[in-house]
């Protein structure tokens, strides 16, 4: 009887211990996986590298502590200074749009929280990011270091001039709101390169603008991640 009780206790204790040994960010890992499955894959994000990157980057480390519970929710989050960390779907969509391949070099204008740069850093060795607001540059860089993306280079400065020292870039992401695309950025985009700019209110699903360069020929394309409403009747 006593032996049975000890066995029972042991069984109970073991069953408790047999709860899966989880990494320190357990709850976030599940949330991250759920985010990839429900927010990205179901909406048509297909690039395996992008999905893997989104599933790896600890997004919760790039949001203010007070908002960590919402880090993996399906929407943008305010991060202070009138900025937001973009909706996961938009980040994934932009990353996929860039068609990144190993060995490429990418520039981001508007580091913000550093999350987009981190996602890019999962895919590439050469990631350069500029932030004009001093406090945000410091915070973004700190987030990147803490999350283990030391190879992402952060500079505080006016993104208008790009980062000539490391130009040309295969891809450029412009997340800082501006009503024009600076000519130096066009110049620093490699022939055949792609530039992505999200446009729209910070708390709505945004329109994405893709800028491509073929020699002197520069073209844009407006991309709506979600087509919303019809305008005209279907022909009868």
């Amino acid at each position: 009887m006593k032996h049975a009780c000890v066995s029972l206790v042991l069984l109970i204790v073991l069953s408790l211990c047999s709860v899966r040994a989880v990494p320190a960010d357990d709850g976030y890992a599940e949330q991250r996986a759920r985010m990839v499955a429900r927010q990205l894959e179901t909406r048509g994000i297909r690039d395996a590298a992008t999905l893997a990157a989104m599933g790896s980057v600890p997004r919760h480390k790039f949001v203010p502590v007070a908002r960590r519970a919402q880090a993996y929710s399906d929407g943008p989050l305010p991060i202070g200074y009138g900025q937001t960390i973009s909706q996961p779907y938009i980040v994934a969509y932009m990353t996929e749009l860039l068609r990144l391949e190993p060995g490429m070099r990418v520039l981001e204008i508007g580091t913000g929280s550093g999350y987009q740069a981190a996602v890019l850093g999962e895919l590439l060795e050469e990631v350069y990011t500029l932030e004009i607001v001093h406090e945000l540059a410091l915070w973004g860089e700190e987030n990147l270091r803490r999350a283990g993306y030391e190879h992402v280079r952060v500079k505080q400065g006016d993104g208008y001039y790009g980062w000539e020292e490391f130009a040309p870039f295969d891809a450029i992401v412009v997340t800082a709101a501006a009503d024009h695309i600076p000519p130096p950025l066009i110049e620093q985009l490699r022939d055949g390169g792609r530039m992505v700019i999200p446009v729209g209110s910070p708390f709505r699903t945004q329109m994405l603008m893709l800028v491509t360069r073929e020699g002197d020929d520069i073209r844009t394309e407006s991309l709506l991640p979600v087509r919303f409403v019809p305008f005209t009747r279907d022909p009868e």
Binding site: T205, R219, F231
Partner: protein
């Protein structure tokens, strides 16, 4: 006591406008409107509290009134500080962050206090001294009217942050005047001194509510080296000029531009972008705007006489000058900006407004057009619509009389025979403004029996903006060729051309939205019924009756939009409209509570309660509905929104006060009440249909004559409206005196509710509907009035 009531009324109304401006600077006008609406329920709450604590307050009447005035003054002086205690509220996050709801409620409570205490004092006086209600209501209304006018002058002298303290002193003066005389109880001198300290502190070291991070100026001030180089305040708002090396002016710049856009200071009004101080705007390669779609009219023709509407900081003026325009009329109603850029700091814009070819007109667009007979500009340039990244619909509730069908008719009539109208708008998602603009132009062309509409409209599209041109004469082949050449050189695509070829629309800038192209073609040249009637956005032309160009929401489509966008995103599509709805719901719920609560004290059943409710509710709704429509129509007529509002409010309130005073000499019999109510209803009906033709006839008069006309127009209905409230209270006073505070609560709550309701009704059904409801309200009051208590005999005013 009447003087005390008058002073308190001056302070309260003036503070209402000051608070509106403070909140508009910190957040947005629509949020300010929301908060003010809730805060004004403090008046309604005052009546409710008086019902519930009537015996106590009556017993201590002598000391309660001055103490309440003192409390109101202290609360008024400390509002800006109080609202920030619980944390920094940001209206933009309201639908996104649940924590903001709690902060908002605290905001309401803090803003409500001055109105509550002052309202309680005045309601208590009305109740206790109902025998001279005519004189007291006269003091209340006249004081309110004076406050509306006085605050305009004060806002020129002092910033709104200091004005709260100044106005609080008036309430302290009201407390002093209403203090009990010996041998009654006295207030200790320490109370007076203590009460004076807060207003003094708020004048010397004023606090301001924390600003939203999502206002334009916040972003500008984050830039390295950014600093405010100028700040000035007026009734038009707070103007600030920010200077920073990273502030470049290059809106929707061609991707082929080589060189550096100009770095110029930026002017903000109430924290929102007003304009860049561009000045000459020259680059190594012509004017900077020559590298945007806004250059289109100058590429096609050579306009000598250009009319620039809502000229702002003069960027379109400098553009016209750079293309050799010999005469430029610039219309800009913001007189403070005009004074700043023409008189005080002309160097900021390279003395543009002092150029001999430029005439600056400080009036509204419609007032200018009404006076501008005989002028025939070659080109009329409207201000750019929208903004990069969208405006989140914050302007949905803003009246834009320069974009209505009537406005475009006036512009068309003003044009030279080969003249053009140019409108540039930013890309938006989903497209709405472009569709509404084309719907408006289509109707205009149809009215002039122009069959080949496609020949009179062209449009050119860049990655960011679209410039539409409407011409009186058809665009000829040479001009179309120039459009194509310009587009080719800049990387812009033709959007509308009579001989548009397949593939032309998306050579440089692909939209990938064939449905939108199909819609604009249908609007301009196709059958209107080919458009989907279930399209969830209203793209019908705006009219003077519904001048909300940026409001596209159809109420019945909200469920569909919620389904598409989700509850979190929808508000940011049409934030202004959503705030208007939220305000209405909040106010109605609170008003119902405040009106129902007293019934627990005075009883649920009894004689004539429903008539008391019907009468005073009708007065509250009728007066406010009439006031709101008159404000709109007469602002358009007088052409100067700030002074128009002061004129209209001042006239309505002072004349109402006069009517109240005269009412003391009249019998408040059922017959008199009914006749007065019916007379007011008849006048409102007359104005509903007759006002517009009358205003149009006199649109060209000088401002002083128009202002006098407005006074004569408003005086009769206001006078008789002013009689209704004291008549009602006098009838209640004899046998139903306990209902007097409840009646005051009903009137206050319904007035506040009416403000919010009128906005929503106008957005959906137009201002004429609002006027008809006002007439119906006074007809209801005429019906209910004879059924109120028994009147006091007429008295001679002491």
């Amino acid at each position: 006591m009447p003087l005390a009531v008058g002073l308190a009324s001056v302070a309260v109304i003036a503070f209402q406008l000051v608070l509106m401006q403070l909140l508009a600077i910190a957040q947005w006008h629509h949020f300010a409107y929301m908060v003010i609406s809730m805060a004004l329920l403090g008046f309604g709450a005052a009546g409710t509290v008086l019902v519930l604590m009537r015996a106590f307050l009556e017993r201590h009447y002598a000391i309660a009134v001055p103490l309440l005035f003192l409390a109101a003054g202290v609360a008024m002086a400390s509002t800006s500080w109080l609202v920030g205690i619980a944390g920094n509220f940001d209206a933009f996050l309201l639908f996104f962050d649940r924590g903001q709801v709690g902060l908002l409620l605290f905001y309401y409570a803090a803003c409500c206090l001055p109105f509550f205490f002052a309202g309680l004092a005045v309601t208590l006086v009305f109740y206790r001294e109902v025998a001279r209600i005519g004189t007291l209501y006269f003091a209340n209304m006249t004081g309110s009217g004076a406050g509306a006018v006085l605050v305009i002058g004060l806002l020129w002298l002092l910033p709104p942050t200091r004005l709260a303290g100044v106005l609080a002193v008036l309430l302290l003066a009201a407390a002093w005047l209403s203090r009990p005389r010996p041998p009654g109880p006295r207030l200790h001198p320490a109370i007076w001194i203590g009460a004076l300290l807060l207003p003094a502190a708020s004048v010397i070291a004023p606090a301001a509510p924390a600003s939203s991070e999502y206002k334009d100026i916040f972003g500008a001030l984050q830039l390295p080296g950014a600093r405010v180089v100028h700040r000035s305040s007026s009734p038009y708002g707070l103007l600030e000029v920010v200077s920073a090396q990273a502030l470049r002016f290059a809106p929707s710049l061609s991707l082929r531009f080589q060189g550096e856009p100009p770095v110029r200071d930026v002017l903000f009004n109430d924290g929102e972008y007003f304009g860049t101080l561009l000045g000459g705007g020259t680059t190594h390669d012509g004017h900077i705007l020559d590298h945007t779609t806004r250059a289109l009219p100058y590429m096609l023709r050579s306009p000598g006489h250009v009319l620039v509407l809502l000229a702002g900081t003069g960027n379109d003026v400098s553009h016209a000058l750079s293309h050799g325009a010999t005469r430029i009329d610039a219309v800009e109603p913001h007189r403070q900006v005009n004074a700043l850029l023409r008189e005080l700091h002309p160097a900021w814009i390279d003395a543009l407004y002092r150029d001999p070819a430029v005439t600056l007109h400080g009036s509204s667009v419609r007032a200018f057009l009404g006076r501008a007979g005989g002028q025939r500009p070659d080109l009329i340039v409207l201000p750019v619509l929208g903004a990069f990244g969208g405006t989140s619909g914050v302007h949905a509730m803003q009246e834009q009389y320069h974009l209505t069908l009537e406005a475009f008719r006036a512009l068309w009539d003003a044009l030279d025979d080969t003249g053009m109208i140019a409108v540039t708008l930013w890309h938006e998602d989903p497209p709405r403004a472009s569709l509404r603009l084309l719907a408006t132009w289509r109707q205009l062309l149809d009215e002039h029996a122009i069959g080949n509409r496609a020949a009179h409209v062209v449009a050119l599209r860049s990655w960011g903006t679209i410039t539409f041109l409407l011409s009186k004469s058809p665009f000829v082949a040479q001009e179309r060729a120039r459009l194509r050449q310009f587009g080719q050189a800049r990387g812009f695509d033709p959007l509308l051309l009579e001989d548009l070829q397949p593939g032309e629309r998306e050579h440089f800038n692909r939209v990938g939205d064939e449905a939108w192209f199909k819609a604009i073609d249908t609007l301009l040249t196709g059958a209107p019924d080919a458009l989907d009637p279930h399209y969830p956005f209203n793209i019908q032309p705006a009219t003077d009756d519904k001048p909300f160009f940026n409001n596209f929401i159809k109420l019945q489509n909200i469920p569909q939009l919620l389904d598409t966008y989700g509850a979190r995103q929808l508000p940011y599509l049409e934030l202004g409209f959503v705030l208007a709805l939220v305000t209405l719901v909040q106010i109605v719920l609170a008003a119902v509570l405040l009106i129902v609560l007293p019934l627990f004290r005075i009883g649920w059943v009894g004689t004539r309660r429903r008539w008391t409710f019907a009468y005073f509710a009708a007065l509250g709704i009728g007066f406010m509905f009439f006031e709101i429509v008159l404000l709109q129509k007469l602002m358009l007529y007088l052409g100067q929104p700030v002074y128009a509002a002061a004129t209209v409010l001042g006239t309505l309130l002072v004349c109402s006060g006069a009517g109240s005073l005269v009412s003391s000499r009249c019998s408040a019999s059922g017959r008199v009440l009914a006749c007065t109510g019916l007379l007011v209803a008849a006048l409102i009906l007359l104005y509903t249909f007759g006002l517009r033709p009358l205003l149009q006839l006199s649109m060209g008069w000088p401002l002083a004559a128009k202002a006098a006309g407005v006074f004569l127009l408003l005086a009769p209905p206001a006078f008789f409206m002013g009689m209704m409230f004291p008549f009602g209270l006098r009838r209640l006073s004899v046998t139903h005196a306990r209902q007097i505070p409840w009646a005051c609560a009903i009137d206050s709550c319904m007035s506040v509710s009416a403000t919010a309701l009128a906005t929503v009704v106008a957005l959906d059904a137009g201002f004429m509907t609002v006027m008809l409801i006002a007439a119906a309200a006074y007809a209801l009051a005429a019906l209910a009035g004879p059924r109120l208590g028994i009147p006091l005999p007429a008295r001679v005013t002491p």
